[in-house]
Assembly symmetry: C2
Homo-oligomer: 389 residues x 2
C-alpha cells in the first residue's frame, strides 16, 4: 500500500424528498446564490418548483444560470462568474448531473480569482479559495457530487480538461434516488458506465498489497452491475436506484484511491472523443475501456484474472490465466452491449478519419503520456483507438 492522505468533507444527505431541505441547507452559507442547471427536464419533472419553493421559504434569493449541456462549456462558466460578481453571490448551487456540478465548481473558483479561470485547467496556477458549492444530484454518473474534480470543455479548439483539488469538494450534496426515475435509458446506461470506469481506473494499478481497496472496488462494481438491469427494466425501482446512486458517489469520493496509484488513461483517451464528437462521456468510455484493456492486460495478467474471477465469477484457469483475463474483458463487453451501448468507435461517432488527430491531442503531439498502469505514448493511444474501431 502506498502512503496517502485522505480527506473528504462533503456532507451527504440521502433519501426520498431530501431536496426539500435545500433552502435550509443553503441558507447556512448565503442568502444570495447562483443556481446552475441544464435544460427543461427539471421543470418538466417538477423539481424546479420544489427547489424554488424551498429556497424561497428559507429566504434565499437566487439568480438562475440554466443552459448547462453535456461536456459543459467554458463560455457558460464565464457567464456564471460574471453573474457572481455582478450580483454579489455567496454560494453556487448545482441541480443536475456532473455537467451542472462541474460548471458550478468552475464558477465557484473563478468568481474569487482575479485571472482567467481557464488558468487552473492549463495548470498555470492553483485555486486557493472558492465560493461554497452545494448540489442536488439528478444523474448517478460522474461522482462530482463528492469529488475533487471538474471537467470543462473550451469551445475554441474543442479542448476538454480536468482539474482536481480538495477545495472542489461540495459542502453538501443531496442524493434522492427518485430524481433518477425519469432519465432516458441511454443516459442511465452511460451514467453507470462512467461509474464503472471510475472503479476500473482505480482498480488497474501498479501498487502492490492493496487488498482492501481491491475488494471495496469489486464490491461496488458488482453492486452497480447487479442493479443496472433492474432500473433499465423498471425505472422507478427506488431500491435499485439507491444502490446505483450511492455506488456512484462512493466510487469517486477518493476513498477507493487511498494507497494506490490510479490509471486515468481511458478517461484521457475518451475525452478526445467527447471533445471532438460531443458524444456522452459514458458512451465514449464504453468504446475505449475494453480496447484499453485488450492493449494493456499482458502487463499484469494476474490482476486482470482477479478482476475476471471476483467481479464476473469466472473460474480461474490456473494453467492459462491469460484466458481468464480475456474472458473478463469479453464479459465486460457483453455487459455493455446488454445495456444498450456500443463498443465500436466507428459506430458511436460515425467516423474513423480522426484517430491520428485524437492521438496527437491526447499526448500533446507525443510530448506526454497518458495513464499510469502503462504510460501510453502517441502510438499506444493510436493503437487503442484502432482496437476500438
Amino acid at each position: 500500500m502506498d502512503n496517502f492522505e485522505f480527506f473528504n468533507d462533503t456532507r451527504i444527505i440521502f433519501g426520498r424528498g431530501a431536496e426539500d431541505r435545500i433552502g435550509a441547507l443553503t441558507a447556512r452559507y448565503s442568502k444570495s446564490i447562483l443556481w446552475v442547471y441544464g435544460g427543461s427536464s427539471i421543470k418538466r419533472t417538477g423539481q424546479y418548483d420544489r427547489v424554488a419553493a424551498s429556497l424561497k421559504a428559507a429566504g434565499v434569493g437566487y439568480t438562475e444560470l440554466p443552459g448547462v449541456m453535456p461536456n459543459p462549456r467554458l463560455s457558460l462558466v464565464y457567464e456564471g462568474i460574471r453573474l457572481c460578481r455582478e450580483k454579489d453571490i455567496g454560494f453556487v448551487l448545482a441541480v443536475g448531473g456532473g455537467s451542472a456540478i462541474d460548471t458550478a465548481k468552475a464558477i465557484a473558483i473563478g468568481a474569487v480569482y482575479d485571472g482567467d479561470v481557464w488558468d487552473f485547467f492549463e495548470e498555470k496556477t492553483e485555486p486557493v479559495k472558492t465560493l461554497p458549492v452545494g448540489t442536488i444530484l439528478t444523474i448517478p454518473a460522474a461522482g462530482s457530487e463528492s469529488s475533487t474534480s471538474s471537467v470543462i470543455t473550451k469551445e475554441e479548439g474543442q479542448i476538454k480538461r480536468p482539474i482536481n483539488y480538495t477545495l472542489l469538494y461540495p459542502k453538501f450534496s443531496i442524493l434522492d434516488p427518485e430524481l433518477a426515475f425519469t432519465l432516458p435509458k441511454y443516459q442511465m446506461a452511460c451514467g453507470a458506465t462512467d461509474i464503472l470506469s471510475h472503479l476500473m481506473e482505480r482498480y488497474f494499478t501498479n501498487s502492490s498489497d492493496v487488498e482492501l481497496s481491491d475488494r471495496l472496488i469489486e464490491s461496488t462494481f458488482k453492486t452497480v452491475m447487479h442493479n443496472l438491469p433492474t432500473v433499465l427494466e423498471k425505472p422507478d425501482d427506488y431500491s435499485a436506484w439507491a444502490e446505483i446512486m450511492w455506488s456512484g458517489t462512493v466510487a469517486h469520493n477518493d476513498l477507493f484511491s487511498s494507497g494506490r496509484e490510479c490509471d486515468w488513461g481511458s478517461h484521457a483517451i475518451e475525452h478526445q472523443l467527447s471533445a471532438l464528437y460531443d458524444v456522452a462521456h459514458g458512451a465514449g468510455l464504453a468504446v475505449i475501456t475494453p480496447a484499453w484493456m485488450k492493449y494493456v492486460y499482458r502487463h499484469d495478467v494476474g490482476r486482470f484474472a482477479q478482476f475476471a474471477n471476483r467481479v464476473w465469477n469466472i473460474d480461474v484457469d490456473f494453467f492459462h490465466p491469460e484466458k481468464t483475463a480475456l474472458e473478463g474483458i469479453a464479459r465486460l463487453e457483453h455487459f455493455l452491449h446488454s445495456i444498450g451501448l456500443t463498443t465500436s468507435l466507428r459506430e458511436l461517432t460515425g467516423d474513423d478519419t480522426r484517430l491520428e488527430e485524437m492521438a496527437d491531442r491526447c499526448t500533446d503531439g507525443d510530448s506526454s503520456t497518458v495513464g499510469k498502469f502503462i504510460p501510453l505514448h502517441r502510438q499506444d493511444v493510436l493503437a487503442v483507438y484502432r482496437l476500438a474501431l
Copy 2:
C-alpha cells in the same frame, strides 16, 4: 436502503514515518496542547521521542497526560480537563489506541463545557463545542481515530458508557502501520476482533436493500481475516498491518452504516464484562458475539447464510439454510480460537456468578432493551451470557 446523512471530516495521513509530521499538523491549531498517552510503551519504542522532537521543532508547547489504561477512566478525563483550563490548552493530541483517543475526545468536550463532562454520557445534554483533537494511532482496533465515539468508564459503580457525536471526529489522524509492529499478540487479536465486531454490528440489520454496504462490510471483514494470521506470525509485516490498520478505520468511520440500522447489542452486552472484570474489550467481544449470533440467527436465517457464504466461502445448503447459517457462526468461533482468543465467558473472567447482575446493568434492571436486530430484554441478555459460558 434507509434515508441517511453521512459526514466525516477527519483527515487521514497514512504511511511510514507519518508521525514525524505531527508538529506541523498540530501547529495549525494551537501552540499549547495537551498530549494524552498510556504508559511506558511509547517511550520504549522511541515514539515518544519522535513526537516530542516534532512538536518542539514546530514550536508547539505540550503538557503531558500519561496514564491512560484500557477501559479508560473518568478520573483521568477530569484530570485532563483541569489541565486544559489551567494551562489554556487549545488542542488535545492522543498517541495510542482507542483508550487514549476516547480519553482525549472526552477531555476536549469537557474542557469547554461548564458542567460535569459525565452529563454527556448520561445523556443529560449534548456537546455543542469541542477543542480540536488529533491522533497518532498505535493500535488498530477501536476505530476512534475517525469515529464519532468515545467510551469512558466511571469508576464509581463501574459504569461504562459510549457517546456518539460528529463533533467528536478528530481533525486529523496519523496512521503508520509500523507503530503496530511491537504490539503483544494478544492485543493484536483483541484489536482485530474489535474491528470485526464493528463490521458485524453494522452487518446484522433489519434494513432491506442494502447491497452496497453489505458487500463493503464483507470485503473489509475478509481483508482483516486474511491479514491477521500474517501479522501474528510475522509482526513486522508492513503490508499486512497496512491492510488491518486501514480496515479498522474504514470499519468504523460511519460510511458502512449509511442507509442501514445497526445493532450494537453485542457491544452493550460486552461493556458489562469489561466494566466488571476489566478484560480487554476485544476479548469480551470474542466471547459475546458468537453467543449473540446463536441466540438471534433464526430472526433472519438468510442474512446469516449470506454471511456464511460470502465471508467464509461456505456453500449454501439451499434446502437447510439454517445449517449454512450455523456453519458461518462455527467458522467465526474457529477463527477466534485460531488467533488465541477464548469464546468462553467463564474462561475469560474466571467467574460465572454475576450473570444476573450484568443482565440487570445492561438493561437498567429490565427497563430498557439493547440492540436493534432483535431488541433484547433482560432475560435475552441473560440467555446470551449463558450461551457464552
